[in-house]
């Protein structure tokens, strides 16, 4: 799971408007390569929009997003390998778990898509159900497939939108362990979370959004607790 070349993200004066509604207001944030940042904030505070802008799925109304190298220099050209886990599972209900992973592995140019899919399904605990259609899965099982899909191309940047959704206690522990491995290997993680959990404990930095504005940004342990306590309230 080692990303060969860590990458960071630099948001500069990002604004996103939907009609007259501001989803983000001049958000500037520099996430260094290898950082593990937790985004906190109430519903509608702009966490998902910021993640989708980072994934280049949404174009900001104004401002600039750049990917950076470990030395802070901007990366020009190709986007770094990015894994994204969203609210929706982003997998096909009418395909099996294995078919889903093989499909996305092939699209990403994997040399051995079937072997990669099998390994990841084993890691997420779905090896026995690999030939079952995703539509027959519980929410937690679908979330495991979604996480496996995000990990397919050994991401340099991992964007997670409430990744614990639907996972049971065992699943949360597995996810926390996997994220710890990725973080320690130099993968940059930006994740939105509600409240404190095994996953929030991995964050080395906390950022709080409120009504689209960045209102807190800390690496201090006690302040991190306060940010998650507020978000979970």
């Amino acid at each position: 799971m080692t990303p060969t070349d860590p990458a960071g993200i630099r948001f500069t004066h990002i604004e996103k408007r939907y009609g007259g509604l501001f989803a983000l207001r001049r958000v500037s944030l520099e996430i260094a390569a290898g950082e593990c940042v937790a985004l906190a904030g109430r519903n509608g505070s702009g966490k998902t929009t910021l993640l989708r802008i980072a994934a280049q799925l949404v174009r900001p109304s104004s401002g600039d997003v750049r990917f950076t190298r470990a030395n802070g220099q901007s990366i020009d050209g190709a986007r770094p390998r990015t894994g994204y886990v969203a609210h929706a599972t982003m997998v096909y209900d009418d395909l099996t778990a294995e078919e889903n992973l093989v499909l996305f592995a092939r699209l990403q140019g994997s040399a051995a898509p079937a072997a990669l899919a099998e390994r990841l399904l084993s890691e997420v605990g779905l090896r026995e159900r690999r030939a079952s259609l995703v539509r027959t899965f519980s929410r937690g099982m679908r979330q495991r497939v979604a996480i496996a899909r995000a990990l397919l191309q050994q991401p340099q940047i991992l964007l997670l939108d409430e990744p614990g959704t639907g996972l049971d206690a065992e699943g949360l522990l597995w996810l926390a362990g996997t994220l710890r491995e990725l973080r320690d290997a130099g993968c940059t993680v930006l994740m939105s979370l509600h409240g404190e959990s095994e996953i929030s404990a991995l964050a080395t930095r906390g950022v709080r959004l409120d009504a689209g504005s960045l209102v807190a940004d800390t690496r201090d342990g006690a302040e991190l607790h306060a940010i998650f306590a507020l978000a979970g309230a």
Binding site: R52, A55, L57, V58, R59, T82, Y84, A86, H87, A88, T89, M90, V91, Y92, D93, D94, L95, E99, L103, F104, R106, L107, Q108, G109, R149
Partner: protein, 226 residues
């Protein structure tokens, strides 16, 4: 065309075919729709063979066009169910591959439906089609490609809009009027007692397809954005 684009398109086309063959949702809907139109028209007007030769081409293409609008509607809506379109956009190197695979799948499905319905038309309306099967296949292909290329683009646009179910046919049908007219004229020539090919119509269909395909290639990326 880059190798990455070609390979991604083929992988996505395989996915489209697999999911459709598994659910048979689109093919069943369109086949039943065209069958109903042809049977109802046959019983209502009871046309003679010479009348069928005159009106058959128009009937066929109207049925194909309405069936296509039914088929194109879920094309991108399916991708919204679990936000799989975002997953595809993140995975492919060129977003045009997503549109190209949808276009190829829509053309194949439409063409398969048309070929399935052609013998039914021949029997119900007593019009021999097999002597001109090769030429009909060419017109069906060019016409279906025209319908699909414009329809795929509009399906991508309308999937993100409000009143999406209403929007697609409202945009699609006027845009496809030239394809409908040209396809009907060429098909009518082929169904004539002394069949002939209207090469002018065939040329028009080929140019229409080429122009819309180029537009799809140039602006496709923007169609897929949120």
């Amino acid at each position: 065309m880059g190798l990455g684009l070609l390979s991604n398109t083929l992988v996505l086309l395989g996915k489209e075919l697999r999911t459709e063959l598994r659910s048979r949702e689109l093919l069943t809907t369109t086949v039943i729709f065209i069958l109903l139109v042809m049977v109802l028209f046959s019983f209502t007007f009871d046309p003679s063979s010479s009348e069928a030769r005159r009106f058959g081409a128009g009937l066929l293409w109207l049925a194909f066009l309405f069936a296509a609008s039914l088929m194109l509607q879920p094309c991108f809506l399916r991708e919204q169910t679990n936000d799989t379109l975002s997953a595809l956009r993140l995975a492919v190197s060129d977003p045009f591959a997503i549109l190209l695979a949808k276009l190829a799948a829509n053309t194949l499905f439409l063409l398969a439906t048309e070929l399935l319905m052609l013998p039914v038309f021949a029997v119900l309306y007593n019009v021999p089609v097999f002597p001109v099967f090769g030429q009909l296949l060419l017109v069906f292909f060019l016409g279906s490609l025209g319908v699909s290329v414009a329809g795929t683009a509009l399906s991508a646009i309308s999937a993100q809009a409000r009143m999406r179910e209403l929007l697609l046919p409202l945009l699609l049908l006027p845009l496809l009027t030239p394809v409908l007219v040209a396809s009907t004229q060429v098909t009518a020539g082929l169904l004539d007692v002394q069949p002939f090919v209207q090469w002018k119509g065939v040329g028009f269909l080929a140019v229409f397809d080429l122009v819309f395909l180029t537009a799809l290639w140039l602006f496709g990326e923007y169609l897929l954005e949120e």
